[in-house]
Amino acid sequence: MTPLIFFIASIGAIAGAVGVIALRNPFYGVLSLVGHLLCLAALFLLLHAEFLAAAQVIVYAGGVMVLYVFVVAYVGGSGESLGASHGWLRILTPVFVGVLLLELMVATLGSGLKAIGTEGADIQASFGSPAEIGELLLTRFLFPFEVASLLLLVAAIGAVGLARRRSGFTVGDAPLDAAARSVSPPKGSGTMAEAAGDRPVFGGKVGDQ
């Protein structure tokens, strides 16, 4: 069972990764990235890292990729396709990718494959559980953990600041929100009391549903 799931998940992961760079339609590219991430989560499950698998799905497939899908569906358009790159990028990109691949292969062949004939590392039942990970984060890896959380806080505040600055620039044309509020409906409209007929009905008949 384990090898079967492993091969299905790894083939899916590789196919998803290839799809991301090979598909011309950006929406399908994003979707194949989602497929790739889900297959990675399945591989994590096989490695007894169920917390990591859940985090992978929640954070990446359910959070980050949702925003990708959002933007691509609005901006990318289904009919448009990405054009082929040109110029020096065409030469530089394969060189970079090739060097990266070579480095990965050296690292893999140099270390990971020593254990290929054995049963793998011994793990306890609690390995990869949320409790275990939480303890490690708050003891052994406390400093990197706190630094990462500080970085996230800075990023969050930065995002709020950027969003606020953009709305502050629209001085000439009043923001839609304020314009809508200045013509606020009479008090009591849209309430249950209005529907029940205690006061005159504003803006036409109250519909069903």
Partner: protein, 341 residues
């Protein structure tokens, strides 16, 4: 070789797993037509009319008639739709809804003819995160359905549901952190066990309960948060172009999600299979207690739908981000201080 799922407390014999899967699936599916009928009957009563009363005695065969009508409909799709994704989207919705049903604990481990059986589908160590993971994937069902329909109404409905789901998922998760801290575990069965000694978590976590329930209404796209399918402005939202089987699947998934959210709320806040006043729960009565409490919460869902008008889109967003999220955060911090001291 050890079974691959043995380390996630799932080491029962394979035949028990299959029987459990079939029973949970069958019971879960049987609840859907009942909820459907109850909703239509009660909505009728709330609005001073009878509701369905033509098919069978008191209209109880109405869901069956609905299913036959939907199943015999012609299956068609718009010319602008993307065929493969258009067909896959309802399936994604159903698969995620059914998969989430698996972690609802209907009872503790009991002896059935000398065999220890846990009355739940799975009890993984990540517990409630499992539900959130599938909730994250469920988004793609709605989103792809709306996008692949090739219709502006569907697309806008899907976009709304996307924004709504990610906004309320955060509050929902944060509201649950309080419970997880009190129970000291993510596993749903252990959360219920903790409530046997500490009392039901709705008492110390009443704020979290309200936030979780409101976010649950939004997550399941139910009134007053049913903006993705606001009939007046978006026709039917992401399901506009679906008929027959596809529509049935989305409909089915929506009601199954209502059942699952109610059942998880029961488990986390309302003591799961525990009876009030410290009464002892007999072993095999546990599933009935859980289902009974779940039905009460489903009634609350229907009640709210009959009572409250639909929110406007900006109201929905400011409720999620400016009210629920701060409340949930403060609740989490307060609970953390309470647990540590």
């Amino acid at each position: 070789m050890t079974p691959i799922l043995a380390t996630v407390n799932y080491s029962e014999p394979w035949w028990i797993q299959i029987i459990k899967a079939l029973v949970i699936f069958a019971v879960g599916l049987q609840l859907i037509p009942l909820v459907l009928l109850a909703e239509r009957k009660m909505l009728g009563r709330f609005q001073g009319r009878y509701g369905p009363n033509r098919v069978g005695p008191f209209g109880v065969m109405q869901p069956l008639a609905d299913i036959i009508k939907l199943a015999t409909k012609e299956s068609f799709r718009p010319r602008t739709s993307v065929g493969f994704i258009f067909m896959a989207a309802p399936a994604i919705s159903i698969i995620t809804a059914v998969a989430t049903l698996a972690i609802v604990p209907f009872g503790n481990t009991v002896d059935i003819f000398g065999t220890k059986v846990g009355l739940y589908g799975v009890d993984p160590s990540i517990g409630i995160l499992y539900a959130f993971a599938f909730g994250g994937i469920a988004f793609y069902g709605l989103m792809l359905g709306g996008w692949a329909s090739g219709s502006k109404y569907s697309f806008l409905g899907a976009m709304r549901s996307a924004a709504q789901l990610i906004s309320y998922e955060i509050s929902q998760g944060l509201a649950l952190v309080g419970v997880v801290m009190l129970a000291g575990s993510l596993s749903l069965t252990e959360i219920v066990d903790a409530q046997a000694t500490q009392g039901w978590f709705i008492v110390p976590q009443i704020v979290g309960f309200v936030v979780f329930l409101v976010a649950g209404f939004a997550e399941t796209n139910r009134a007053p948060f049913d903006l993705p399918e606001a009939d007046a402005e978006l026709v039917g939202g992401y399901i506009t172009e679906y008929g027959g089987g596809g529509f049935t699947s989305f409909f089915f998934a929506e009601y199954l999600n209502v059942i699952v959210v109610s059942a998880i709320t029961v488990t986390v806040y309302l003591g799961g299979w525990l009876l009030p006043f410290g009464w002892h729960t007999p072993g095999l009565a546990m599933p009935f207690i859980v289902i009974g409490k779940t039905c009460l919460l489903i009634f609350l869902f229907i009640w709210v739908r009959a009572t409250l008008p639909r929110l406007r889109y900006d109201q929905l967003m400011s409720l999620g981000w400016k009210i629920l999220l701060p409340i949930a955060t403060i609740n989490t911090l307060a609970t953390a201080v309470m647990v540590v001291t």
